[in-house]
Structure formats: structure tokens, C-alpha cells
């Protein structure tokens, strides 16, 4: 147990002693803050000027859907940041050959990987905290500017935030798993960006037209993540005939992705000879 705590301490220092964590955090704050604040303002303005909406306001979030959607951007848009952090933390070890001093200090490699996952989950949760603080602040500020209820006193809003932070933590663990499996830093970044921003959205959209594929698409990581949070662009657009997973099932699906990738990486690269 002492050995695990030492490894966890070491992995924390690894993340905190390089610049990437706060660079990612700043970009994330700007990104989710602008999205939440901007769209909250847009919806606020549209609610005051209904005559300006194209197509008579079809597809616009209405009433109680609006606040969760805006606050939810912390996770539904921001989840790419904890994945990147987890993936960079792992692939960096391969890239800079720091696995050598790491395994010299802690020859039990499984322990090192476990410590990495634990630290990623904690740092991912902190990223979640920062992202949700950002969207809650930016969204609520925009809403109150247009006289829309912020729902900040509503316990549902805080439950939403809690689930969103959980999803962010799990995404960081998925990043670690992906990093051990792919090992190349460039490849990992390309895969994360291409999959989260392009491949999965297209898959979900395509799958949503048929019932069978729609129910399978619920298990895609982004869909499972949306299920954990409880809000999604896709459920708004009315395309999804299938109900999303329960939030806890979504969490289990994310955890399963993290576990499969990490175990795969452990056997394919982590246990290998370090030359």
C-alpha cells in the first residue's frame, strides 16, 4: 500500500511539474466558457426576439431543457481535454523514454499503471470541476443578463454538475488507456481529436436513423458520456428515437472503455522490454 501511495505521489508530480496540464486547463476554460456563455446569450436574445428565429424556433431548447444544455457543455464539449491529458501523460513516458527511470524506481509496472489511472481520475475530476465552474458562471451570467432563470438554486443543477465531473474523471482514465495502447504521442492526439470531433459525431448521426443501430450507438463513448451527464445535442434535435442509457449505465460503459484500453495497453506495451 505504501508503494502504491508513493507511486501516486510520483505520478502527481509528473503532471504538475510540466506545463501541459495548465495549458490544457486554460484552453478548456476558454472553450467551454465561450460555448456556454455564447449560446446562453444567443438563446436569451432569441427568447426576447422570437420573430428573429429562423424556421419558427424549431429545435430550439425550450424551458427547463435550456439550462442543463448550456451548463452541460462543460462535459459534452470539454471532455476532450481530460482525454488528451491522460493520453499525453502516458505517451510522454514513451516519447521521452522516462519509463526507464520510472521502472527503475518502481519495478512493479502494474503498480505504476494503476497509480497513473488513479491520478488521471483525480486530475480529470479537477478538470471537471474547473470546466463546470466555468460553464455555470458564464451560462448563469448570460442567463441573468436576459432575465432567464439560472436554476443555480436547483438541486438538479448540482446533480448534473456532479455527474458531469464524474464523466470527466472517467474520460481521463480512458486517455491513459489509449496512451498505453497507442504509445505514439502524435498518433494518440490525432486519434483523440479525429474520433471525438469527427468520427463519433458522424457515427451517432448516421446510426440515429435506424432503431437497431441507434440502440447500439448508445454504447459509443461520447453517447455514454452524454448519458452520464443527462444532456445531449442529439436528444434535443429529436433525432434520437431511442432513449439514452441510464446515467449509471453510461458510467459503467465509460469505465469499461477505460479498463479495456488500459488492460490492452498493459499487455501490448507496458509489460514489454524497455530498450
Amino acid at each position: 500500500m505504501t508503494a502504491l501511495f508513493r507511486s501516486i505521489g510520483s505520478e502527481f508530480l509528473k503532471i504538475l511539474t510540466t506545463r501541459i496540464w495548465w495549458i490544457l486547463a486554460i484552453v478548456m476554460v476558454v472553450y467551454v466558457g465561450a460555448t456556454a456563455g455564447g449560446l446562453a446569450a444567443l438563446f436569451g436574445w432569441l427568447s426576447q426576439n422570437p420573430d428573429q428565429t429562423g424556421g419558427g424556433g424549431r429545435g430550439l431548447p425550450t424551458g427547463a431543457q435550456l439550462q442543463p444544455l448550456v451548463y452541460g457543455f462543460a462535459t459534452t464539449v470539454g471532455y476532450v481535454f481530460p482525454v488528451l491529458l491522460g493520453a499525453l501523460a502516458t505517451t510522454g513516458e514513451f516519447r521521452h523514454e522516462t519509463l526507464t527511470p520510472t521502472f527503475l524506481a518502481t519495478p512493479r509496472r502494474g503498480l505504476v499503471l494503476l497509480a497513473k489511472v488513479v491520478v488521471a481520475i483525480i486530475v480529470g475530476a479537477v478538470f471537471g470541476l474547473i470546466a463546470w465552474a466555468t460553464t455555470l458562471a458564464a451560462g448563469a451570467a448570460a442567463f441573468s443578463g436576459f432575465g432567464i432563470e439560472t436554476n443555480l438554486g436547483d438541486s438538479d443543477t448540482w446533480a448534473l454538475a456532479g455527474r458531469g465531473i464524474l464523466a470527466m474523471a472517467l474520460w481521463a482514465a480512458i486517455g491513459v488507456g489509449l496512451g498505453t495502447l497507442v504509445t505514439s504521442q502524435v498518433a494518440a492526439i490525432v486519434i483523440v481529436l479525429a474520433f471525438t470531433q469527427f468520427v463519433e459525431p458522424l457515427l451517432r448521426l448516421a446510426a440515429s436513423f435506424i432503431d437497431v443501430t441507434a440502440s447500439i450507438a448508445r454504447f459509443l463513448p461520447g453517447a455514454a458520456s452524454d448519458a452520464v451527464v443527462g444532456v445531449s445535442f442529439y436528444s434535443l434535435s429529436g433525432g434520437a428515437a431511442t432513449d439514452p442509457l441510464d446515467w449509471w449505465k453510461g458510467a459503467i460503459v465509460l469505465l469499461a472503455y477505460a479498463a479495456v484500453l488500459t488492460f490492452g495497453g498493459y499487455f501490448s506495451s507496458w509489460r514489454r522490454d524497455v530498450t
Binding site: 505504501t2 508513493r6 507511486s7 505521489g9 510520483s10 508530480l13 509528473k14 511539474t17 510540466t18 506545463r19 501541459i20 510522454g92 521521452h96 523514454e97 522516462t98 526507464t100 527511470p101 520510472t102 521502472f103 527503475l104 524506481a105 518502481t106 519495478p107 512493479r108 522490454d273 524497455v274 530498450t275
Partner: protein, 355 residues
């Protein structure tokens, strides 16, 4: 004071597919002295060290620290300090933070980080990012890592690579100091001249196999021993040698006989009544012996060591020291050229093999 434990390689073999990188390697490295682990690039040194440190899994055999495999050491950094080729740093991390990461993993206090950085002379650069370090500074940082846990065993892969002359002088003294403290010190290098002033013992491998093991002094006496002998009547001397079954070649300063004991040649000449004008054991330079071992080739050039001429018939006018250069086997035979006139072609040697 930490005490060293012996490093033991026992039948260690590593195959990468069809390629055998290390073959049945067995040797022991004792505490209290500096052992050089030598071999040309690609001989299997780094692979052997990585197997010793549990980073590479041997195909067969074991490498241990006093019987315990690296993976099974309770807190490895306090038993063994190892530095493998100088690239294992995150360039964005400072030297201080780099060491803090591993001190935390080993449960060592941060105060150790400052101590070891001072000891290797990086104290004032501790807060700089490693990305801006020179190769020599990285080597020192690698060394600082090995000292974190104040271990009794040090394993250093090519620690002299990239150091400036001052750094080389420093590390030589440093290694001797560590060994004098009772630690086990194993230092790899592909150049004997790089480490010959700091090592007591050598382990030489070539193509993954052990080719020599012993003190530094054994290197030039045991490898390809030759005797140089000359006589006013070379033809007669040659006949006598041939009759006794000695193999020899004719050089400028005399006959180069494949025999390590000058006494036997002297005795042979005495018994057969052949006058001898010169008799000496050829001592190959350390580097030449080393190259012979790793290439499996001929001993070329080198200096000679004059031994006491046992035969009363030896000509007192022979100039023993003047023929030091004895470039016997490299030069074409030129019997009429005066002995000792060729330029000192071993002047670039590192000094210790010349007297």
C-alpha cells in the same frame, strides 16, 4: 555508509527473434572496485545492463544483486543506482523536479534531491529545464539520479560519453571515490582508453559473448603474447625456432615469435649456441589487446616491454629501450633498416602502457 553487494550474471541469454544479442553471459562484479564493462557498439552491453535492471527480460539465465533480482528488491533505488544512456528526461521539467518525481516514487525526502545535485555539480542549474542542458550536464543529472538513494551498487552505461575533458577528469575521480567507499561500480564503455584510468577490472564482451575477464593488468599479458628476438645471424635463429616448432614472422627489428615467455626463447638460443642481440617480450598496448579481443584479429603495433635477458650470449650493446616502437608485424620486412628509427607511432596511447 552503504555497502556494495556483488553483481552476478549467470548464463544470461537474450534473443530478439533470430538475433542473439547476448549469449550465455556469466561473470561477477565485486564491491570495492570499479569494473569496466567493455565492448564495441552493438556488442550487447546495454541489453545486458537492461536485463540486470529488470527492464528487459532475459530469454534465459539470471542477473542478480547478491542473489536478488532487481524486480524483487524492496526499495531498488536505495540498493542500486543506475544511469542508462542520457536521454531519459522530460525536456520541460527542471532537474530539481525531475529528481523529485523519482525521489517521491522511492519514498526519499526532497532534501536528497538538493544533496545529489550539489554532489554532481549541478546545484546552480537545478531550477533550469533539462531541455536546455548540454550532453555533459545531462550525464551529470543521470549520475545524480543514481545517487538519490545512496545505493551500494552503481551501474552506469557510457557515463563518460559527451563529457568535456574537465568532466572526464571529474568522473574518473568520482568513480574511484565511490569504489573506495566500498560500493560496487560497473561502468560500460565502448572505448577502453576512456575508462582505463579509472577501472580496476575489466569485463569485455563482443558479439554478445564474454571474451575477457580480469584485472586491467591481465589484459596485456594474457592477450596474444609475443616475444621479439634478434640475432646477428637471423637465418640460423629462424632455423632453430622452426626446428622447435615456434611460429614467427620477420620484422624490421627482429623475429616476432608467438610465445609469451622470453626465457624459453633465450634458453633455446643458448642451447643451440646462437648469439642473441635482443630479446624482449612484446607488450601490446591495452587498446590493441582490447581491439584484438573484440575483433578476433591480430595484435598490431604496440609497445614492447624489455625483460631481463637470461642468456649470457646477449649482446650488451643492444638498445633495449630504443626499440620500444617495435612495429614488427605492421611494417613490411626491412631487415637493413636501423632498429629504433621509426617514429613513435604509439605516442597517442594513453600513457600507462609506456614506461
Amino acid at each position: 555508509m552503504p555497502t556494495g553487494v556483488p553483481i552476478e550474471f549467470s548464463g544470461v541469454t537474450k534473443r530478439f527473434g533470430a538475433v542473439t544479442a547476448v549469449a550465455d553471459l556469466s561473470f561477477t562484479v565485486e564491491p570495492g572496485r570499479v569494473t569496466g564493462f567493455l565492448g564495441p557498439n552493438g556488442a550487447g552491453k546495454t541489453t545486458s545492463l537492461r536485463m540486470l535492471l529488470g527492464l528487459v527480460r532475459p530469454t534465459s539465465g539470471t542477473a542478480t544483486f547478491g542473489g536478488t533480482a532487481y524486480r524483487d528488491l524492496a526499495n531498488p533505488l536505495t540498493t542500486v543506482g543506475a544511469a542508462l544512456e542520457a536521454a531519459s528526461f522530460h525536456p520541460g521539467r527542471t532537474a530539481h523536479n525531475h529528481l523529485r518525481v523519482y525521489a517521491a516514487a522511492a519514498g526519499l525526502p526532497t532534501s536528497r534531491v538538493d544533496e545529489v545535485l550539489r554532489r554532481v555539480g549541478l546545484g546552480e542549474y537545478a531550477k533550469r529545464r533539462v531541455g536546455g542542458y548540454s550532453l555533459g550536464m545531462r550525464q551529470r543529472l543521470g549520475l545524480a539520479y543514481t545517487l538519490l538513494g545512496d545505493p551500494g551498487v552503481l551501474v552506469l552505461d557510457e557515463p563518460i560519453n559527451g563529457l568535456d575533458p574537465e568532466g572526464i577528469k571529474w568522473i574518473r575521480l568520482f568513480l574511484r571515490e565511490l569504489a573506495a567507499e566500498g560500493r560496487t561500480v560497473l561502468v560500460s564503455s565502448h572505448l577502453l582508453s576512456e575508462v582505463q584510468q579509472s577501472v580496476d577490472e575489466v569485463v569485455i564482451i563482443a558479439k554478445g559473448r564474454l571474451v575477457h575477464r580480469g584485472t586491467l593488468a591481465t589484459l596485456d599479458t594474457e592477450v596474444a603474447p609475443h616475444v621479439v628476438v634478434d640475432s646477428p645471424d637471423r637465418t640460423r635463429l629462424g632455423e632453430v625456432l622452426t626446428a622447435e616448432g615456434f611460429e614467427f614472422s620477420t620484422g624490421r627489428t627482429g623475429l616476432l615469435v608467438a610465445e609469451g615467455d622470453p626465457g624459453r626463447i633465450g634458453h633455446l638460443a643458448f642451447v643451440n649456441g646462437v648469439e642473441i642481440s635482443m630479446l624482449q617480450r612484446q607488450k601490446a598496448g591495452l587498446e590493441e589487446s582490447f581491439l584484438t579481443l573484440v575483433d578476433g584479429g591480430e595484435v598490431v603495433g604496440g609497445s614492447t616491454e624489455t625483460t631481463r635477458v637470461t642468456d649470457a650470449a646477449a649482446d650488451a650493446t643492444a638498445e633495449p629501450a630504443a626499440s620500444v616502437d617495435a612495429a614488427v608485424s605492421t611494417e613490411p620486412p626491412a631487415p637493413e633498416a636501423p632498429a629504433g628509427e621509426s617514429p613513435g607511432r604509439h605516442a597517442d596511447h594513453d600513457g600507462e602502457d609506456q614506461r
